[in-house]
């Protein structure tokens, strides 16, 4: 995928890969700073920043008070005036406190000023359910920011992409919002050494197939791959596409797949209604690929409910591998 990737591969966790990206950025560019709650000596709530503060000091790895709106706004102001902040929300849910600075300021100031400025700001949002942290610490809110012109929104699903997309975000002159899935932080995978970027706006075809296109985001891309293996055993050849970027969406890759398979299944953890899958579906339904569709477009999204605490309930409200299997089988029922 990444043409610039060095050949040497090691296994790193998703969290380690992100940390490595930040380490590279901090060492290469004096303008880069990290801001967030407890990202210093604590190492971050999910140990993503780890010990970076020891290497770069508290001036560059800044613990903020618990002030999400102000913190985000300071990052916006800093980005406007020469720094390249990477701002960590401790949980993506707390972005609800900072929407004003993200949406009314960061996303719009370039446009409102007729292009006179830009806001090279990176924000990181640990998102998703699965940790038993209940309704206020488990949301997947990428659809909100995906709705906002001026922002770019990515959702890495592998350690390699987590590193590459963060470095790409830092190269980007405009605000890039990175939704990281908490459950992925400990997942290991091969990560190229050194500097490379993963392109923002490009989906990744994780598995080619001819029977059904499964477009999945974040951790659902992993679940879709698991499902695809099982489906293969049943004679269903699924194409799995990891969307990677919510905004701007990779129209071409998605449409090409649907033109080939004629069947589309969108899988995402966020609430189904008005979630990312709604956009994928609508994008396809209004394109020329519509004519290639052999079946309705199925969406598997989060339930129309807050995330519950009890672990079994928690699993029940977001798509799981068996749900993907059922949906794919249903889509192909006519054919088989």
């Amino acid at each position: 995928m990444n043409m610039q990737a060095k050949p040497t591969l090691r296994e790193l966790s998703y969290a380690e890969a992100i940390r490595e990206a930040m380490d590279i950025a901090l060492s290469q560019d004096e303008r880069v700073i990290l801001m967030g709650e407890d990202i210093g000596v604590y190492g971050g709530a999910f140990q993503v920043t780890g010990d970076l503060v020891e290497k770069y000091g508290t001036d560059r790895v800044m613990d903020t008070p618990i002030s999400e709106l102000g913190g985000a706004g300071i990052a916006v102001g800093a980005a406007l005036t020469g720094l390249r902040p990477i701002f960590e929300f401790q949980f993506s849910d707390f972005a609800a406190l900072a929407m004003e600075q993200i949406v009314n300021q960061a996303a719009k100031v370039r446009y409102m000023l007729g292009g006179a400025v830009s806001v090279p700001l990176v924000m990181r949002f640990p998102a998703g359910s699965g940790t038993g942290a209940a309704a206020q610490h488990s949301q997947s809110l990428e659809a909100w920011l995906g709705h906002v012109p001026g922002l770019k929104v990515v959702q890495p699903s592998t350690p390699e992409d987590a590193k590459g997309l963060l470095l790409a975000a830092l190269e980007d002159p405009d605000p890039v919002m990175i939704f990281e899935h908490k459950i992925l932080y400990k997942m290991k995978g091969p990560v190229p050494e050194g500097y490379y970027t993963t392109p923002i706006g490009k989906a990744a075809i994780r598995r080619t197939g001819k029977d059904v296109s499964i477009i999945a985001t974040s951790i659902m891309a992993q679940k879709a791959m698991t499902a695809a293996e099982t489906l293969a055993g049943e004679g269903i050849d699924a194409e799995v596409i990891d969307l990677r970027t919510v905004r701007p969406m990779d129209r071409e890759t998605v449409l090409a797949s649907v033109r080939k398979t004629g069947r589309l299944l969108c899988v995402y953890e966020g609430v189904k209604t008005l979630g990312v899958g709604a956009e994928i579906s609508a994008m396809v339904a209004e394109s020329d690929a519509f004519d290639f569709l052999d079946a309705p477009i199925i969406r598997l999204g989060g339930a129309e409910s807050p995330i519950p605490y009890n672990p079994e309930l928690e699993k029940a409200v977001v798509p799981q591998v068996p749900d993907i299997l059922d949906a794919a089988r249903g889509l192909l029922k006519g054919r088989i």
Binding site: V41, Y42, I66, L97, A135, A303, Y309, N310, E314, A316
Partner: protein, 338 residues
């Protein structure tokens, strides 16, 4: 309250409350401690899926702040809310059941530790959002004033929360509208890993009350009597229509912030020092001093509360899990509107 009895050597609490009330308070403090220990133990034994924030060391603040509240009065609590919940009269079995994610829990297993609430007793709930309860408490006070219920709301929040914009907005509006609310800041020195020195540009958080023209006082949050004295006065002020106050209980959490804390931001010595100022031991000593209880009585209370916790855990463990098919129940109110 015996305002005429001005013996400086007799602590406020002993002057203000009957022995029964004082013993009930000590019992609640023990229950909090043991609830937290039970929670910790359950966590270690792998019975718990989520996280938890223990208030061991802060028991005097929770109980002392609720002394003059009735079930009509409200509290809003925080992520570190077990103690407030017990102080406001909650059932320990239903608390454990919630912690274990059971259908018999306060939230029917939907909320967990961070959302335990007990509306019947006036506890509007813990909150997963730091500072989230501050405006809600003011809203409850607004209801009380508009509806003329005479109820007061005590709003618990942490030192970390005092840097949220919600703090500023809530205190300002409470003051402008003279609402019956008492803001109780539990200053345990840290918001997660970040000390007040590194996060808060004022020495005493109570000093921020001046920005809202309300009384502000900083007290030893491990001294039950000092807490009760300050909060009782603030509650009385609120109840009589004079408006809000800010009380800062300086205290300390003995455990890490949550399950995953490596305590890198503070020293063992600091923790040990604070553990010597155990609010429960201090309270027991005061009651012994004033002959309200003796050592044997304390031991009996210890045994009694240990048993209560044991029973509560047994109840919770034996309770059924929620039915997975009902995962999306209670998102909306089912019954048609009146």
């Amino acid at each position: 309250m015996p305002d005429t009895f001005k013996d400086g050597n007799v602590p406020y609490a002993v002057r203000a409350y009957s022995p029964e009330v004082l013993l009930a308070a000590l019992k609640k403090m023990m229950l909090i401690r043991k609830f937290e220990e039970g929670a910790e133990d359950s966590y270690t034994r792998g019975l718990i899926h989520g996280t938890m924030h223990l208030s061991i060391g802060q028991e005097a603040s929770a109980v002392g702040s609720c002394m003059s509240l009735t079930d009509e009065d409200k509290i809003t609590s925080t992520h570190r809310g077990h103690g407030h919940c017990v102080a406001k009269g909650a059932d320990l079995g239903k608390m454990f059941a919630e912690f274990f994610g059971k259908e018999t829990g306060y939230c029917k297993g939907r909320g967990g530790s961070m959302h335990i609430a007990d509306p019947a007793k006036g506890n509007l709930g813990a909150n997963g959002i730091v500072g989230g309860g501050l405006p809600i408490a003011v809203g409850a006070a607004l209801s009380a004033k508009r509806l003329g219920t005479g109820a007061v709301t005590v709003c618990f929040f942490g030192d970390g929360a005092n840097n949220e914009g919600a703090f500023h907005e809530a205190l300002n509006m409470a003051a402008v509208w003279k609402l019956p609310v008492v803001f109780v800041c539990e200053n345990n020195k840290y918001g997660m890993s970040t000390s007040t020195e590194r996060s808060t540009a004022v020495k005493n958080i109570a000093d921020r009350s001046a920005s809202y023209s309300m009384p502000g006082v900083t007290v030893d949050g491990n001294d039950f009597s000092a807490v009760a004295e300050a909060v009782d006065a603030a509650v009385e002020r609120a109840r009589s229509g004079e408006g809000p106050s800010l009380v800062e209980n300086v205290t300390y959490r003995w455990r890490g912030h949550s399950k995953s804390d490596r305590n890198r931001y503070r020293t063992k010595e600091e923790i040990a020092e604070w553990m010597e100022r155990d609010p429960i031991a201090t309270m027991a000593a005061m009651l012994i001093d004033h002959k309200i209880i003796d050592q044997d009585g304390v031991a009996a209370l210890e045994a009694e509360t240990t048993q209560i916790i044991k029973d509560a855990i047994t109840f919770a463990s034996g309770s059924p899990d929620p039915d997975v098919s009902e995962a999306t129940r209670d998102v909306y109110t089912q019954e048609a509107a009146a």
